[in-house]
Amino acid sequence: MGTESVASTRHGAVRVVTGHYGSGKTEVSVSLAMRLAAQGVPVALADLDVVNPYFRSREQADLMTAAGIRVISSSLGHTITLDLPAVSPEVHIPLADPTCDVILDVGGNEVGVRVLAEFAADLRRRTAEVLLVVNAYRPETVDVAGVLHHLRAIEATSSLTVGGLISNTHVCRDTTVDDVVAGYRLTQAVSEQTGLPIRFVCGIPSALDGLADRLGAPVEGELLPIGLYLRDAWM
């Protein structure tokens, strides 16, 4: 798997992870942050989800902090379990540091990206890329039209332009390479229609094995193994 390219792509990259509810933004964000940290990249993850009360990246703040990641969430702390729009102003700090990679893990749909208005000025000063997570198994994004509907709604509300796609089709622990292929095909179709590049192709490690062979072609975008950090072992 392309393990080095994440670090070498762009130092100090700002990635804004958006998408439809339940597309897997949080797992993608945490997995990406953990991978960057493992490669020694200074990285901050800001959990900007003010929509969901559960399964937020801040739940893994201890794990990520131990890995050297700067984790930012509510101004009331990581452990307060409220769906309040109380985002910490600390988010501005890594956004002002051009040497630090920043992942903004935002809430679902166009509702979730409203919070980005607060950081519009910061994002203009950085090479920020808005990424859209595509999950072909979510009922509202099974086809190109569904994905584009959400893409446009997210762009309209955030006044930002989506710059890349993340393929993240899965059925949790039971995901196979076939699922990743199915999701990749949809992401590819969206890419063809919009001209947006595929930045990452996600899956649990066993489902990414032999993906290029199955496709019979090189994979566009980097393989990003998903750690299922938000999913307890019993789920």
Partner: protein
């Protein structure tokens, strides 16, 4: 393995619409708000009605009215919101009207918190509203079961002309899982809704929907009729899943999310050579009493696991009829027990049995609230 990934609250909405629900009245509350949000978006597409009421009390009374006019109707809320609906639920049961009520439980009492809990067991199974009435209560443990039971619940409500509650918790409401909407669910022959107030057109006597009986003889007779239905439910409706009872010394009793945590603990213990069984009630009323009467001789004690201080223990004691000692372990207030906690309690109990310790005396109940470290026991 189905290839549609959904969130629990969406599953409830999709299942209800599939079951023919065309009216929903609710009020937002975490962690079930995606459900009214889903119904608001989807019901108009199928010619249905969604109203965000001004309060939970208004919503349940809209359910009363819609059901009285013959509609397939649902409301949902989370714990404190369900508390507000109790008066209406009692009226609906009294007026013998069908409806489905979904509780996505969170921590209590009072406003409590927004994390998952199972502390509305009493509220669901012992009323909450006034008077002699019961609800049929389903307790799904997966999103697939949620999809199935929500659909079945509508038929049962119509069949018995009684409210049916689907008791989920915040974890089930918020988690994502693959789900399939099956075409082979059992469907019931349903009576015509000849109670519905749909207008006489001058051709028949008015139908009156009411729970007021000022002659006590008539009210008593009415209640006896209600209880004939509840007795029929006790015969026909108990659902339970059992796992590995044969040869087990300890049988765990757990429902919903907690049963899944127990399954994980079972796997861990099995690796250590410790074999435990599981009784998972799928209906909480009627409670699956029968399974406790036919436990294998190997079973020496019962362990109840819940996300509450042990509200289901009362039903386990009723079902157990004093045969086996009952212990408890759980977390509450929005804390979720880990498989490790359950496994540790099992090891502790097995150790205690070996030395004849904490579970002395048949019928003794030892409670252990995590975090207090206190244990009270003895015959009760």
């Amino acid at each position: 393995m189905p290839r549609t990934l959904m969130k629990g609250n969406e599953v409830i909405g999709a299942a209800a619409i599939r079951a023919g629900c065309r009216a929903f009245f609710g009020y937002p509350i975490t962690p079930q708000t995606e459900l009214p949000e889903y119904m608001a978006a989807q019901l108009p597409k199928v010619g249905g009605v969604f109203v965000q009421a001004e309060s939970e009390i208004a919503a349940i009374n809209m359910v009363y009215g819609a059901s009285g006019s013959g509609a397939r109707v649902m409301t949902s809320s989370s714990s404190p919101g369900i508390a507000l609906k109790q008066e209406g639920i009692s009226y609906i049961a009294g007026a013998e009207l069908p409806c489905v009520i979904v509780n996505v439980m969170r921590g209590g009492p009072g406003l409590g918190g927004i994390q998952p809990s199972q502390s509305d067991y009493f509220q669901a199974t012992r009323g909450g509203g006034n008077g002699d009435y019961r609800l049929l209560v389903y307790a799904p443990a997966s999103l697939q079961e949620l999809a199935d039971l929500v659909q079945i619940a509508f038929d049962k409500a119509d069949y018995y002309r009684n409210p049916v509650m689907v008791l989920a918790d915040g974890m089930l409401g918020q988690m994502m899982e693959p789900v399939e909407f099956r075409d082979d669910l059992p469907r019931m022959e349903l009576p015509a809704k000849d109670f519905a107030a749909t207008g006489t057109m001058g051709e028949r006597a008015p139908r009156v929907i009411n729970s007021l009986y000022l002659k006590p003889e008539e009210l008593e007779e009415h209640i006896h009729r209600l209880f004939a239905k509840y007795e029929a439910m006790k015969v026909n409706e108990p659902l339970v899943e059992t796992v590995g009872l044969e040869g087990a010394e300890i049988v765990v009793v757990a429902y919903g999310t907690t049963a899944r945590i127990v399954r994980s603990a079972m796997a861990t213990l099995a690796e250590e050579g410790i074999h435990i069984g599981l009784i998972r009630p799928i209906t909480l009323f009627p409670y699956p009493m029968g399974v406790f009467e036919t436990l294998p001789d190997s079973v020496r004690q019962l362990l109840v696991v819940e996300m509450s201080m042990g509200q289901m223990i009362d039903d386990v004691r009723i079902a157990n009829e004093g045969r086996l000692p009952i212990s408890f372990v759980g977390r509450t207030g929005g804390m979720v027990p880990t498989p490790a906690l359950v496994a540790e309690r099992v090891r502790e109990l097995l150790g205690a049995t070996a030395v004849g310790g904490a579970t002395e005396g048949s019928g003794a109940t030892a409670y252990q609230g995590v975090g207090t470290g206190s244990t009270t026991g003895g015959a009760r």
